[in-house]
Point group: C2
């Protein structure tokens, strides 16, 4: 019994001891509470929840709300959207932690509603023979809104020019060069079609030849797959551009406010004299519809233009005499011929022409009367924030512009309606206490993008320091849905992985059992040495949307995400209502994304990427994928340039560029190895922070503010824009093209110089990735 | 009994439970081991130990070793010092974790030992009437070392120039302007004295007036407190410069390798054409001793120069006729007069002059025969590292150059001998496992500083990225001891606090019961609104030593520390043996720091600062002290410029500059409050990291690569060099001075522009300090 009692006592004692140890160890924790927080990783179930809550109908309703009225930058309609964003982001149930507006006083350009710009055909005695449409034809009430701005070329100088018309194809330097070999361009007005060259470039390239004015239109070949009749072919019968549709646009080559380069455009900021502005048209330019372009081009005299210059019109595109053909209705009294042509396509024009029947003389001119005026106006960004819990000093930024040219259902409101749905779902989780991201998330609704990415550029200028120091990545979703076929994603190679991961978790629009990823790979793919066949990502080498300042000025890892075309079904340059008065809710919901399922797929994909960037313990940025693209660029550069450079005694064989790319590869491999072999969830949080800092700062390392003295705010030596059109390092390609064309030793020196700049930048990026000491 | 047993059981059970809880809680720790490490702060007892181990005799022995032979950059003597540094830093008992060399191919300039540069007085028939000394007179065996380089002006072009001599004071623009009002400078040779203008500037300023060659010497007034006889006054009788002593130097205005601007000078790096180099003398220039200058100046004709131009010679400094006076021994046969003058001061010269007695003609010239040649040579930095334990990705950098002009006992070997003692003490602690700093420490022994801070500049160009990303601070100790009176420290205002703290813990050299701090405040102090009377720190606004690239190119918080003069005892521009063949161990140990106690005080002070920067949990950088100086600058700017700017319609009253300084102050106050009110030793280590990142990046925020287009590698808008000489923002002061002098509206525009640049930079810095989201 004693023994039994003793045994019981021992067992009980042992049990108490064990219980005690367990309580002591687990019950009274002596690890600080933050130990668990700092190593928490992304929560996959939260992502599932997010995906399931993203609602296509909400997006549709957002779009309806956003597109009620035209909301061109700084107009009353724009202010309505500012208020809408603020209301949503400050909503106590589904808003963000904070939302506010930031204002900039920026230099914009507008037509004069009281003196609309005019394009006319006039006789020597000033009789008007033809007047191009001033506003687009109305098919839905949207086009009748008095706030629809007349089509114009923002930043075209005002002026009254009159001259013989010529056809200059796309207005590229080579186009004017060729044209000038046949026609003396001095004093002429050139008509050009969109595409091939930037908007402003069509005028900038023309001026040196003495051209005094430029017209630009969208050829049905380039936008409508050749179709051009609004009787049954174009909107509202299809997504195609109606004959009177005109692409508006900003005609400048730089981005950001033009009067305050590199400075945030605040009230007392120094502004350069207007005459110092570069990169805008030196001569008046005006966009017109193809309905009017047809009338002008088909009457042109002179030799027939080359085959590649021909568009979709049922006439030969001639160079111009200069001016109209001798037999043209504009040049003699054989008006019936003119009528005959036009009536074929546009019976409704008969009346308009008929009233201009009197006083027709030979050798008539085209006349531009441009009344544009520039104005410094107050443009707002709307900013919203979800504060990070563990690393509030790390930002993931998600943005899109808010301003449109007219109603902007697709550009930009498809993106804005997606952003509002994202913030609704995320905001609700935050407000309900179900989630707070590890890192801070900043949402930006940029103003005045259409005038040259102004809102986002000013923001990066004002907050340059802290954005450079702290930003993990920038996600841009501008036009969310160009078309409803497949995902399109561009960005730094390091983001490929996280976009793929997100795309695999989201259903493709309208395809229940196919992922966005599986659908994407069918439309566009490439073979990666490391990954085999994968979807093809694009690069952000231009300044096409608000990612520009983040990529090129700040060196922040960025991406641009959208849904896009089935290229087997259309060759349209872009969705045909782009920048016209037809880019409306009606258009979007009928022809771009009925049911808003592509919008939903984009919201889910971009939101998934956003959550992963904000919540992952180790940033989901892959530096080895970056190495792959640098190797690709290097290979192309060696193929294209090595032999010729050898002749110029610039060796690429043993050149530092090769060593730099090899350094980058080995540093990337090593960092990947460190990540793989570490138990980061149990090591000091300063280790994962260190690795994440290396990944975050990778793109910053490629910046060199002196690399491109002639390219405003382009500092990223890998992704800068390039005119050489080669899939390799942009500065090298441009320097090589220039040297090859000039043959000047100083230009070959610049090739060598750029090789050094490039090598040092890539070595610097490699240094960011190798062991920190 | 049962009850008793039950009670015993309960008591035992409770006891076991308690023991269990205690074991469970304290015995089996469930806090990861890194929890303690990441919050560890600086260890004061370790600092005590460090201070006690710093040994003056070791420093003395280091200096002896370093100064055995001349070690001008890239010479055999330089290589000896490279080997010495490597040996010490790789020592298994007292070395660093790692040490290695880094090489750059840099553009240097040397005289030709086979064709020494000559300065002569010649007659029209080319008879040489006087030849300036080619090498300094020997007083100790050191001067006889064949490796002593002939005094020369590095980067002076080679050439043979001959012309009438004029005296141009310090060679400032105002000096030549004034001189030219009296004398036609075309074709003349100008003799100038050191001081007032940069070395190269004396030639650059002269050339526009047609001056064809320049001489430069050190006037006894400026260096020797007027004394000039080597019979009993100058070295080896005192620290004063002997009559034949010549200050060598680099005659360029930029820093870094001149052929590879902004690029590390590696073998295949692109090099600009030599003819594109700017900032070097366009005409030959040569330095001479005051012994020769005396002979030349006292014979000059023309009007007497103004009072401020007069030096210590016992004659009137005339402008020059141009050329010598009609009565001069150089111009007529009255040689006795010439003898008479000279013999007064230099009896030994009698013989040298006597042999030139023949063929003396009137109106003689001074002739410069300069045989300098430029060469691309391999220069080494020696780098050493102690790897950080907790934050290896944060660097504290400590550096000094290694190259001298001759033996360089003071410049730079006083600093190098201090650095070697520092690394010995710290290295031993590391090797013995007694210490490993929280952050990494990098030591740099820079090459080719004397030619233009080349080694440090190339290093920052090569490692720009990672240094920008990770460097906490740079400590420069070049000339450790100018003299043995008091500490001198310059740096960003944020380092004041840690220097004060360190200086309070170190005994002043030779004063047992007075701290370095208490001694310092007696020699130089100011009244701070926040701290009352405190020692006066200097600023690093020039490019006087290797801190330049860190401050101005990288925007890294930096400081420069040394021991210096009692200004009540000397007015010497600098210690008199500076850049001469007399800067030897003998000189240093006899006249600069007998007993090496000032060296020791510097090693202790700088080492203390270094340990605090490397080990403190919160970085000891005080942003409120920065605010104080910005407010000071603002006040001066308002006083100097506000009224006149108002006339030009540039308002400072409501200007963003005032708002920016106020933003900075309130952000600094707030950050200080956050630090004070936090329990950082118990909070997540990511919080202290965040605060430290804010402090680390503060100076980076002031960089603007476009702020000073005319100043090579100056980007820090607060500390850039300035020619206006006003204690305020440099770019503003220079822009204002220019506008005031030209009166051009475009120049007033630039003042406005710079106000915007400055405001945006200060706002950016404030943004770095405010709450991170």
């Amino acid at each position: 019994k004693m023994i039994k009692q003793l045994l019981i006592s021992i067992v009980c004692g042992a049990a108490m001891l064990t219980v005690g140890i367990l309580i002591g160890h687990y019950g009274i924790t002596n690890a600080p509470s933050w130990v668990k927080d700092v190593v928490r990783d992304v929560d996959e179930s939260l992502i599932e929840k997010f995906l399931s809550e993203v609602d296509n109908i909400q997006i549709q309703e957002n779009l309806k709300e956003l597109t009620k009225v035209p909301h061109m930058a700084t107009t009353a309609g724009d202010e309505q959207t500012v208020q809408l964003m603020l209301k949503r982001w400050q909503d106590p149930e589904s808003g963000l932690d904070q939302a506010w507006r930031e204002e900039y006083l920026v230099y914009l350009s507008f037509p004069d509603p009281k003196n609309p710009n005019k394009v006319t055909v006039v006789s020597p005695s000033e009789t008007v023979l033809h007047t191009a449409r001033e506003k687009e034809k109305s098919y839905t009430p949207d086009q009748d809104d008095p706030a629809v701005v007349q089509p114009y070329a923002a930043y075209s100088p005002a002026g009254h020019q009159r001259g013989r018309l010529v056809y200059a194809n796309q207005g590229k330097p080579s186009d004017y060069l060729l044209l000038n070999q046949t026609v003396d361009l001095k004093g002429t007005i050139a008509i050009t079609r969109y595409g091939g060259a930037g908007r402003a470039a069509k005028a900038i390239n023309a001026a040196p030849y003495g051209v005094i004015g430029v017209l630009v239109y969208t050829d049905p070949l380039d936008i409508n797959d050749g179709l051009m009749s609004d009787a049954n072919e174009t909107y509202p019968h299809s997504w195609y551009m109606p004959p009177s549709g005109v692409e508006r646009g900003s005609f400048n080559t730089h981005y950001g406010d033009m009067l305050t380069p590199y400075l945030a455009a605040k009230e007392e900021t120094y502004r350069i004299p207007v005459e110092d502005i570069t990169g805008i048209p030196p001569i008046p330019i005006q966009p017109i519809g193809f309905e009017d372009a047809y009338i002008l081009i088909c009457e042109l005299g002179g030799e027939a233009a080359p085959k590649e210059w021909q568009g979709a019109f049922n006439c030969t595109y001639n160079f111009g005499g200069p001016g109209f053909k001798p037999t043209s209705a504009f040049n003699n009294r054989l008006l019936y011929k003119f009528h005959f042509n036009v009536v074929n396509f546009y019976p409704h024009l008969q009346f308009r022409s008929a009233i201009q029947i009197n006083n027709i003389k030979i050798l008539n001119d085209v006349k531009l009367d441009i009344f544009n005026h520039e104005k410094i106006k107050n443009s707002s960004n709307v900013m919203g924030v979800i504060k990070g819990s563990v690393e509030p000093d790390r930002y993931v930024i998600y943005g899109n512009h808010r301003d449109s040219w007219v109603h902007g259902a697709i550009d930009p409101s498809s993106g804005t309606s997606v952003m509002l749905e994202l913030t609704r779902v995320l905001g609700k989780m935050v407000k309900q206490g179900k989630w707070r991201p590890r890192r801070s998330i900043i949402f930006g609704s940029w103003g005045a993008e259409e005038f040259g990415l102004i809102g986002s550029a000013e923001y990066t200028e004002q907050y340059f320091t802290k954005l450079s120091e702290r930003t993990i990545a920038y996600i841009n979703v501008d036009i969310a849905v160009f078309a409803n076929a497949t995902l399109r994603a561009s960005g730094m190679p390091s983001v490929q992985n996280v976009i793929f991961k997100a795309a695999k978790q989201v259903n493709a629009a309208g395809l229940e059992s196919t992922s966005v990823y599986d659908n994407w790979i069918k439309y566009s793919n490439r073979t990666s040495p490391a990954h085999g066949t994968i979807p093809r990502m694009g690069y952000l080498s231009g300044a096409g949307s608000d990612y520009a300042a983040f990529v090129h000025y700040l060196g922040i890892t960025a991406m641009d995400i959208s849904y896009t075309y089935d290229r087997s079904k259309t060759n349209a340059r872009i969705y045909p209502a782009y920048h016209t008065a037809y880019d409306t809710f009606d258009y979007a919901s009928k022809f771009i994304d009925p049911g808003f399922v592509s919008h939903q797929a984009i919201a889910r994909t971009a939101g998934n990427v956003l959550i992963r960037l904000a919540d992952s313990l180790v940033l989901p940025l892959n530096c080895s994928d970056y190495a792959e693209i640098l190797e690709d660029y290097l290979k192309t550069a060696v193929n294209l340039y090595q032999n010729q450079l050898q002749v110029k005694h610039i060796s690429m064989g043993k050149h530092p560029l090769k060593r730099a790319v090899a350094s980058f590869r080995s540093a990337a491999t090593h960092l990947d190895q460190v990540i793989l072999s570490s138990d980061l969830a149990n090591e000091t949080p300063l280790k994962v922070r260190r690795i994440n800092d290396q990944l975050m700062l990778l793109d910053r390392a490629f910046l060199n503010p002196l690399a491109f003295p002639d390219k405003y705010a382009f500092r990223h030596v890998i992704w800068a824009s390039s005119s050489a059109g080669k899939p390799t390092f942009p500065g090298l390609a441009d320097a090589y093209a220039k040297a090859e064309s000039s043959g000047q030793p100083r230009d070959w020196d610049k090739v060598h110089y750029h090789l050094s700049v490039l090598s040092q930048a890539i070595e610097g990026a490699a240094n960011t990735l190798v062991d920190v000491i």
